[in-house]
Symmetry: C2
Subunit: 323 residues, 2 copies
Amino acid sequence: MTTYIVGVDVGATTTKFGLLTSRGEHREQWKIPTDKKNGGKDFPPQIIAGIEERFRKHGISKGQVLGVGIGVPGFIDEDEEVVSAPNIGWKSYPLQSVFADAFDVPVCINNDANLAAAGEHWQGAGKNEASTFFITIGTGVGGGMIVNGELVNGVSGTAGEIGHTLVVPHGRLCTCGREGCLEEYVAVKGLRRSLRDHLRNGMDTSRLHEDSDAIAIYEAAASGDALARHIVNEAAYYLGYALANVATMLNPEKIIIGGGISAAGDTLLQPLHLHFKRFVLKEADRKLALEPARFGNDAGIYGAAWLVMKRLGYFDGRRWPLK
Amino acid sequence: MTTYIVGVDVGATTTKFGLLTSRGEHREQWKIPTDKKNGGKDFPPQIIAGIEERFRKHGISKGQVLGVGIGVPGFIDEDEEVVSAPNIGWKSYPLQSVFADAFDVPVCINNDANLAAAGEHWQGAGKNEASTFFITIGTGVGGGMIVNGELVNGVSGTAGEIGHTLVVPHGRLCTCGREGCLEEYVAVKGLRRSLRDHLRNGMDTSRLHEDSDAIAIYEAAASGDALARHIVNEAAYYLGYALANVATMLNPEKIIIGGGISAAGDTLLQPLHLHFKRFVLKEADRKLALEPARFGNDAGIYGAAWLVMKRLGYFDGRRWPLK
């Protein structure tokens, strides 16, 4: 009898689903718009209905379902309730209980970047490594880490939050209320802020203007625009600096770069490597590789399934998949 | 039959030993000067002879010895050989093999700060916490961490090396060859460097002069000397900044401050708390405590014994000590 796991990745605009067999094969993938009305409280019933519909469609009985894993863009407590997910509206929201009541199987909740880290660790760029640090750069900057084969959550769920490590004391004001967070220098809004600052200072450009977005900045940099290259190099500098400190402190085997901005490829990775090598402790870099993510947006679904399988003891002292 | 574990903490000037029962009780503690002649190669036979002498003295047969744990001030590889321990002279030195040949029991080697972290986690200020970050501030700055109950080594042994995380890009030159490492701002030589810089800039003091040492600086700060307070506040600023980033990224339950300089007590801890609170991500600080170490210099011996007991499976899913 084939058994199944459901991986859910709740996003600010779209929520993605994966129906996986317990051997890690994708049976079906689908997505629905995230319903943020009523503080996000209307949405869980829609997630549950969508999953149950798929079970019916594939003739999957409740006994064949091993568990449900859910990634959420926010801080998750140790009892797996949502402390805050501002992009959805959830605040002190008992997400785990809501799902555990609906499905009579283990339900695991975790931060979305942590689960993307787990997905890359399990099936992606961090495969077969005992320790992986994953950073995702897009609208904001998130991160997650696998240490000694285990996902690290931290005592209040912030572990891996590299976007909120400080790189400039008393630097740019961040949405978190503090100053100088990495994400204010390398994520989408950070790049646009750099662009405006440099335009105001009269830096020359043939391709960029006040309203250019992050994609335009990276495209202009790839085609040699001086201002765009300067902005990208600045972002790579702060990213290299922050990742070098992570490498020194955590000393993982892999540092994986994911998220929308990582699509810029070598335009970002080349200057990043340069700055990283200069800032990192030599001994920490001896066996470490800095690589782009292998999954695109699906890492979170895999990670959510991994979390459930991990909880069920699938990886304890055994090679996955089970024979 | 009582069984025993030997914990060894190799220091730059003195090497400390602890003979512990497998219930964690101290049977005897002793120390010998560290012999650094001949690139440190004369020293291991002295360690071995000292341990064997204690076994004879207490009538302990080889069958009663469960293992030997050794802390070394340097980088240790995953196969537990010493990559480099510049203060002893060891470089690519097969310390594990030398001891495994002498004693027919498990021999575990690890970095000294990692083992001090393990000692504080096991029996000290981090007792009963699943995750602990330990920082030791003295001649240099070291650190270690326990995550999900496991010691984190990293792929090339640098995990926990907070002293070599950068706090000032292109800042003071460090012995590691890079610029702006935390240890250049808060360890003994960092304080003295700050002192000289500020004296040169004409800052006023009634108690300090060019040759004042770290103890004098902290004593002067405690008695209200303006320059000394300025220097200590500066060190606390950088320390608070670096520890806030650790708290955000690792989100441990305890951050423990140890090492010689931590003897300064509130003179350091008060400004440190202030800067830490200002720099840390609010969510990361919700359940976190910043505390002085409970052990003095003995944490490493306990940690070395812990490492052996851990290897022997003493803590797996059971409360220590065994009933």
